[in-house]
């Protein structure tokens, strides 16, 4: 299995009067080379589950395994590694940095790698062309 979840729970505001359990003990698995789809009513916990799989948040209990690593108990610095190299996360909302141009927003994830600017730029240009967004290149995100 590529991704495996074992009895995963997610509780927000634990121990507070507004405590809310978003995921109540999910056990499931996703195979490689397949497109999987999560379906459910609004507020049923799809985004929360995706966030946990994508290492954007940790489960309150249970285990998440991606390939051969238990990501739910990985220290923060290893999680960054997973986020940087394993996932391409498309958010529900745009989540772009306002004030930066479109091309700068595309290059942003690669800044910490210290890659040569010309390489960064040419890769960003190629991606924009690939997704038919080349005309947006100089636009500033508002």
């Amino acid at each position: 299995m590529l991704i495996e979840l074992i009895d995963v729970r997610k509780v927000f505001n634990q121990g507070k009067p507004n405590e809310f359990c978003a995921i109540k003990g999910i056990t499931t698995a996703f195979d490689s080379n397949r497109i999987s789809c999560l379906k459910g009513a609004s507020g049923s916990g799809k985004t929360t589950l995706m966030s946990m799989i994508g290492c954007l948040s940790r489960p309150t209990s249970g285990r998440i395994r991606i390939e051969d690593r238990i990501t739910s108990s990985l220290p923060e610095r290893f999680l960054t590694e997973v986020r940087r190299h394993t996932f391409g996360f498309i958010f529900q909302r745009f989540n772009l940095i306002p004030g930066l141009s479109v091309v700068e927003n595309i290059m942003l994830p690669a800044y910490p790698l210290g890659v040569k600017y010309s390489l960064l730029r040419s890769r960003a240009d190629r991606l924009l062309e690939q997704f038919l967004l080349a005309d947006k290149l100089p636009s500033v995100v508002l």
């Binding site: 948040s57 772009l96 910490p112």
Partner: protein, 377 residues
């Protein structure tokens, strides 16, 4: 190494982009910060330069001054005290001085008046300080009339003006012939205001002062080092007064900066979440935010210090003149010798740049160790 430098360049570029996005906020903070540094640095630079000036000016002054004390007050001293001192070992020169103050009702100011043997002044000659020349509108060749103790007018011809390099202590100074001095104030030939002694070896000064106390029990030797210490205390005290006056504005800035730096806006928290979600490490987010704090505080520090330097050394500290400069009605006009005390510079840096930069990093650290999903919500 190159990759690391490039990485930091990207962080700085990104930070500058963010600051440009919040132009008004960044400029406002930078202006207030620069102003605070300017005020603090001006007081520090001015006081340090004044102390240094005093040391330079007193470098050639006599090592010991002897004053006669009667009932705790300084009184005229008999000329035969010079003989009573005799030939003390280590004393290279000893002489009597005549000096005092003259109140000029025309400008309602006290001048320092002194008998001078060095300028070969005749009975009617006078040498005046630049401050007096300015206030009374006098030039070389003009006449200055002084009223004697009996009310009789004495006219003196201005022979020359004292050099501007020494205006700090000579602005309100009048030099006249010793006979003219005695006639003007009705002082007997056998009296002096005080005695001055030059000592070759600085290690012997204290010992000679002790001997003088034994030889002339009614007198008090004043050492040059004591005068320097007095200047030191005087300017430190004035600096302290100014810093206390500025404390209010410094505190206001601290509250303002703390409020700005410690509380992240929802937009800033979301930005940190996005950066972490796209693969930035906590340390990388903090480094980027460090640059934001460092750029603002370093630019403010540099601009504020530079402005203070120009203010103190090129405009004679016009803002603080009444508090820090002189004690007379005639303010001396002079330019201080530019000098920077490394320790003072480091202290100012330590108490301004470091706290601000740290105050910026702490809330960022708190946000960046939280799950990205949570800070983005």
């Amino acid at each position: 190494m190159i990759a690391m430098l490039r990485k930091h360049k990207y962080f700085i570029d990104y930070t500058l982009g963010i600051m440009l996005r919040h132009k008004g906020k960044s400029l406002g903070l930078l202006t207030v910060y620069t102003l605070i540094i300017f005020l603090l640095a001006s007081v520090m630079l001015f006081s340090h330069a004044m102390r240094r000036e005093a040391v330079t000016l007193l470098a050639n002054s006599p090592e010991i001054i002897v004053q006669r004390i009667q009932a705790g007050r300084s009184v005229m001293l008999p000329a035969d005290y010079l003989q009573r001192i005799g030939n003390l070992r280590g004393v290279t020169e000893k002489r009597g001085r005549l000096w005092g103050y003259y109140y000029d009702p025309a400008v309602k100011a006290n001048y320092t008046i002194m008998a001078s043997e060095q300028d070969h002044l005749s009975l009617n000659d006078i040498v005046i300080g630049a401050g007096i020349a300015r206030t009374r509108g006098l030039a070389v060749g003009d006449y200055l009339t002084l009223r004697s103790y009996q009310g009789k007018a004495f006219s003196f011809k201005v022979l020359k003006l004292l050099e501007s390099e020494s205006e700090l202590i000579s602005s309100d100074l009048l030099l006249i012939n010793s006979d003219a001095y005695r006639r003007l104030f009705g002082i007997d030939e056998s009296l002096y205001t005080d005695l001055v002694l030059s000592v070759r070896n600085p290690r012997e000064i204290q010992k000679i002062a002790e001997k003088l106390t034994l030889l002339l029990p009614d007198s008090r030797p004043i050492l040059r080092d004591e005068i320097l210490r007095t200047y030191e205390s005087l300017f430190s005290w004035r600096q302290g007064v100014m810093l206390i006056l500025l404390l209010g504005s410094v505190l206001a800035f601290v509250i303002f900066a703390w409020d700005k730096a410690s509380g992240l806006s929802a937009e800033e928290r979301k930005e940190i979440g996005i950066l972490k979600a796209v693969g930035w490490e906590t340390s990388e987010v903090m480094r980027m935010k460090f640059w934001e704090g460092a750029i603002i505080s370093l630019v403010a520090f540099f601009c504020g210090y530079l402005a203070a330097y120009l203010h103190v050394f090129y405009t004679s500290a016009g803002l603080f003149e009444p508090v820090l400069k002189g004690w007379s009605v005639l303010y001396p006009s002079f330019q201080l010798t530019p000098s920077v005390d490394g320790l003072q510079l480091a202290t100012l840096f330590f108490f301004t740049v470091l706290p601000y930069t740290l105050a910026t990093i702490v809330p960022v650290w708190r946000s960046s160790i939280t799950d990205p999903d949570l800070v983005m919500r």
